[in-house]
Symmetry: C3
Subunit: 338 residues, 3 copies
Amino acid sequence: MGLTLGELAVRFGCELRGDAAVVVERVGTLAGAAPGDLAFLANPQYRSQLKGTRASAVVLDAAAAAECPAAALVHSNPYATYARIAALLHPEAPATPGRAPGAQVDASARVAASASIGANAIIGPRSTIGERVLIGAGCVIGADVHVGDDCRLHPRVTLEAGTRLGARARLQSGVVIGSDGFGYARDGRQWTKVPQLGRVRIGDDVEIGANTTIDRGAIDDTVIGDGVKLDNQIQVAHNVQIGEHTVIAACTGISGSTRIGARCMIAGAVGIVGHLDICDDVVVTGLSMVSHSISTPGVYSGGIPAEPAAVWRRLVGRLKRIDALAGRVTRLEQDGKR
Amino acid sequence: MGLTLGELAVRFGCELRGDAAVVVERVGTLAGAAPGDLAFLANPQYRSQLKGTRASAVVLDAAAAAECPAAALVHSNPYATYARIAALLHPEAPATPGRAPGAQVDASARVAASASIGANAIIGPRSTIGERVLIGAGCVIGADVHVGDDCRLHPRVTLEAGTRLGARARLQSGVVIGSDGFGYARDGRQWTKVPQLGRVRIGDDVEIGANTTIDRGAIDDTVIGDGVKLDNQIQVAHNVQIGEHTVIAACTGISGSTRIGARCMIAGAVGIVGHLDICDDVVVTGLSMVSHSISTPGVYSGGIPAEPAAVWRRLVGRLKRIDALAGRVTRLEQDGKR
Amino acid sequence: MGLTLGELAVRFGCELRGDAAVVVERVGTLAGAAPGDLAFLANPQYRSQLKGTRASAVVLDAAAAAECPAAALVHSNPYATYARIAALLHPEAPATPGRAPGAQVDASARVAASASIGANAIIGPRSTIGERVLIGAGCVIGADVHVGDDCRLHPRVTLEAGTRLGARARLQSGVVIGSDGFGYARDGRQWTKVPQLGRVRIGDDVEIGANTTIDRGAIDDTVIGDGVKLDNQIQVAHNVQIGEHTVIAACTGISGSTRIGARCMIAGAVGIVGHLDICDDVVVTGLSMVSHSISTPGVYSGGIPAEPAAVWRRLVGRLKRIDALAGRVTRLEQDGKR
């Protein structure tokens, strides 16, 4: 499916520097593109690759356009513009309506005629599946679940009873939504399970990465706002609330009842303790431990870069004796006063 | 299903302050409860919500009871008491005995007549499934597995060959038990797989969270004691032993052959290195690295709270130069002696 | 299946100290072995168990052989030699060729007659499944996937469209290969999905642990080299490249576009940020954050061992005031110069 640069410039509001009749067929990287490919430059780290690109056209911003050896589609947000053009050049296969062999839909479920239920997928009692939804092979949808229009569930996703997905959600393989929260009451030397009775409610345009887990609420619901993007292997505990358009990278864990505001950016492998309140527009860098509420937007960090092991061992040794070091400084100060 | 406060007080050993004839129908949070709801107060962080609650009754301890605007069910352990009442008010649907469509049970397996085998679940050769067990849709139970009475496996759980589950285990969706341990012998520039020949043995009353993985032993078994509760996305390596009633929060990883004692509490995202011995009654706070054996009960920590990025960068810069700082102190001390 | 020590010594190039006619039937640990068992000693931590072993024979190196109370199979690499003997004594059940009930193979897929397709497994259009491959129950293989000869997929593995597995790969249960990478372009207050159009290409002899996830590339492919071993719950983001014979322990996350060299050893719960270049033969110890490229082989560390909580709190308090401490030292130095 080819598109001319002229069509693309008009459709996506780019300034075109080059021949409007040139056709691009597919996307490519600056370094790997061949004629017929459209590339993009957004991360300055890759600017050195611009000069040598064989792409037929490049999406970039005005500052970089002068160095472009090919036709340039100039836009102030080249990455988002590239994303839109790529979606147009490489459209997803539409869901084939109907039920694949082995799919089992409970008699009380309501499934839109335009929805596609994959091989061996299970749809539970009273659940509703919206228009053009794609349920991948081997998914298990429990009772009383709602899946909004145009959702796409990759294979082997579990939605436990009561889960609600808004429109256009995309869940990668292995996702589990609505598992029991980790609630146990100490009871002498043992632990008694606290029934987990809430649900998980997920807004529109949410994407959830492979093997990510979101627990149902204990009493009230766990809530994921519109436009939230969660990467792979994230853990969201019971009664967490995540505000609109917040993005969270892989391997991060969020403990119970914590509220995260809108438009936050949480990097990978962050740990956020429970019962906190993180305000809107907070950025947390990778491998940080967030153990207090945050009420001021801004960037927060807690990770320490690795060092050669010998250097690190010495540094840790010093750190463990920092109390003694401080004591020596205090003694020197006292000596100085005498 | 309503219950009177009088019945609840007698059944759970509470002191009732209020009208014994009042009926509660369901549970609610202090903040969200409506008339007919039973709430609880256990975490002092939520005490301020007590005054305004619309719940018909609240489970709490004697110290808080005076402030309670509704009927009070007073107990020294309000959280465990709440848990028991909630289980009574909101009973789980019993498993429907029999095999759902698509379930495949090997001819040599023994499945109790009262057990429920979900849609498309697989039960392997010579495995035994106890009374009233619920095997969720899409579960895969390998050969020679034993599942004790009253276990509940949520959808899409894998029990590899030889796994043994005690009674009343509850496994959330995506759990994998009995995967091969990570054993490879260096062999020149390559790695040779070390066959993983042990099993996983799990005691009674164990709960395991979504997408948690427990590897089989290399020769001997990996062993999880009675009453252990594991949260989501925990990794338990081969030959680990976890003592009775230990609880472990999400995203924690335990390396091979480490033994953890009884009644420990390990928080989230903790990393425990291999071949260690952690004694009974140890508490480890979140994001800690446990790299030595622990022989004294108590609380251990290793996480550093995040800071605003500019503060943190400065702090890390100082930390990386701590050796130089110590050297400067030594020189000052030497100067002082001259 | 018994084997004489004489046969084993010849076959695996060991020096035999003891009776060549002794037969071993199975493997055991030094501490747990019974007569008829073969044990091994490789980790010096377990040397004290050698003296009391009841094993019929022990694989060990020359230095330890003198203390061995049983027959000794002496080899300079006892662990790899043990691994080979164990594989011989405990051979894996061969795959039963054919399709189990409920398996669905697309008419356009090519499946070797010697391959075994498990119960309820799905093979998508145009995919090719090699000789003697074992596809476990409930696996979902998408379109245009290639699975090389002698691969073994445990139950419930997902290979998304376009994934290529070399020969002899072994994937544990719950693995997801080819999920979408985490690519979104900021677009005002929202995020626009960047289509993820690349694939995942995996070399020969690769092993991948339970619930590990590997994302497809954004444009180019994500590439895992020959002989790579990945433990459980590892996250490999889009366009990562991992060099030959690198091993990575559980819970580690590798961010997008990072390249890791050959023969690296990455321990557990390590976080590696994106767009880095890690050279060959790098070792990273557990819980480290790698935030810069590494161009020198060697060992790198970043984890801080946990302490008793009271000690740790004091230490963190001092660390947070390290700037003030440095200032005090500077003032002392200035005072000294006056």
